[in-house]
């Protein structure tokens, strides 16, 4: 629940970069919450694929719970992004979101390792996925800025 709220908060903060209408933030929050579910799917799937022992002992639900628990690390980053953007008026959503995605994905890999998976392998997969997610984030932000600049 907290994780969903965190993704929704980041979506709401991102929305004004797409559209200036006030209701855009609500739409952004919904998209953010959906993105939070969709973006974690490849990470869950990869960790499920490489952890035969964990898969056998805990099933897919065990991996799903571990990834969710690890990605709770994203929550403080999202909250601080809200504080920075609304409280301090900084334009700092991208570094906060990128750091949060990488920290969350790395922690998710470690949580799966804690269930009995290979420590280094799961950590590498988590960090690599986090890196991939943060690149996707940056590309989206750049595309939005370019669309605004030329639109």
């Amino acid at each position: 629940m907290l994780r969903m709220l965190a993704f929704a908060a980041v979506g709401a903060l991102m929305a004004p970069r797409f559209a200036e209408e006030p209701e855009a933030m609500v739409f952004g929050a919904v998209i953010g919450a959906i993105a939070g579910v969709v973006l974690l799917a490849p990470l869950r799937w990869l960790l499920w694929l490489v952890n035969a022992k964990v898969r056998k002992e805990h099933g897919y639900s065990g991996i799903r719970k571990a990834v969710g628990a690890g990605f709770a690390t994203f929550v403080p980053f999202a909250f601080l992004a809200v504080v920075a953007e609304i409280g301090f008026g900084w334009d700092a959503l991208t570094p906060f979101a990128m750091a949060g995605l990488m920290a969350g994905a790395g922690a998710a890999g470690l949580e799966v390792a804690r269930l009995g998976g290979h420590r280094i392998l799961n950590l590498v997969i988590g960090v690599a996925c986090g890196f991939g997610l943060s690149i996707v984030w940056t590309m989206v932000m750049v595309m939005v800025q370019e669309a605004h600049a030329f639109g």
């Binding site: 907290l2 628990a69 709770a72 690390t73 929550v75 403080p76 980053f77 909250f79 601080l80 504080v83 920075a84 409280g87 301090f88 900084w90 700092a92 570094p95 906060f96 750091a99 949060g100 920290a103 790395g106 922690a107 470690l110 420590r119 950590l123 960090v127």
Partner: protein, 167 residues
């Protein structure tokens, strides 16, 4: 940065207090030094060296204070970790901030970039993950409590920096 909990549980007991506190002192010193350089570039600096010294001072003071408050708050849940352990863990949590600070200072001086937010604040953000790990150790693995406390500590540190440099 990737696996802070293992580092905390395996190596922290061998570390002396002063060595641990040198990490946030240097990390905050570098963050405030970059803030001073950025402000100086925009013509709004009150003194670069003064800001850097303030950063060192805040690093030595703020981190043990936040560790003390967090340690007191988790006492009802778990007493297995001492106050000294908490201070050392909180101090070491700023190791990524120190690395980011060094990289930021190089970019600031060599390339002339404004790096206080891009490198400095990002480095402070990377402290959240180890803080979360330390708080989980201190609270008997109470995840939600640790999450809330890590968030509050992160927000407090950012607020201190923002107020001190007028960001």
């Amino acid at each position: 940065m990737a696996d802070p909990r293992t580092v905390l549980t395996n190596y922290i007991d061998d570390l002396a207090w002063p060595a641990a506190l040198a990490v946030p002192a240097l990390a905050f010193g570098l963050l405030f030094l970059q803030s001073g350089l950025d402000l100086d570039r925009s013509g709004a600096s009150d003194g670069i060296a003064g800001l850097a010294l303030l950063g060192v001072l805040l690093g030595v003071v703020v981190v043990p204070v936040t560790a003390l408050v967090a340690w007191i708050l988790v006492l009802p849940f778990d007493r297995s970790r001492s106050l000294g352990w908490a201070v050392r863990a909180f101090a070491l949590a700023y190791s990524p901030a120190l690395i980011y600070g060094l990289c930021g200072l190089i970019a600031n001086i060599v390339l002339g970039w404004n790096t206080a937010v891009a490198f400095g604040v990002t480095g402070v953000l990377w402290a959240i993950s180890p803080l979360f790990a330390a708080l989980r150790e201190m609270s008997g693995d109470r995840r939600r409590l640790s999450l809330v406390l890590a968030t509050v500590v992160g927000a407090a540190v950012l607020a201190v920096w923002a107020v001190a440099v007028g960001a």
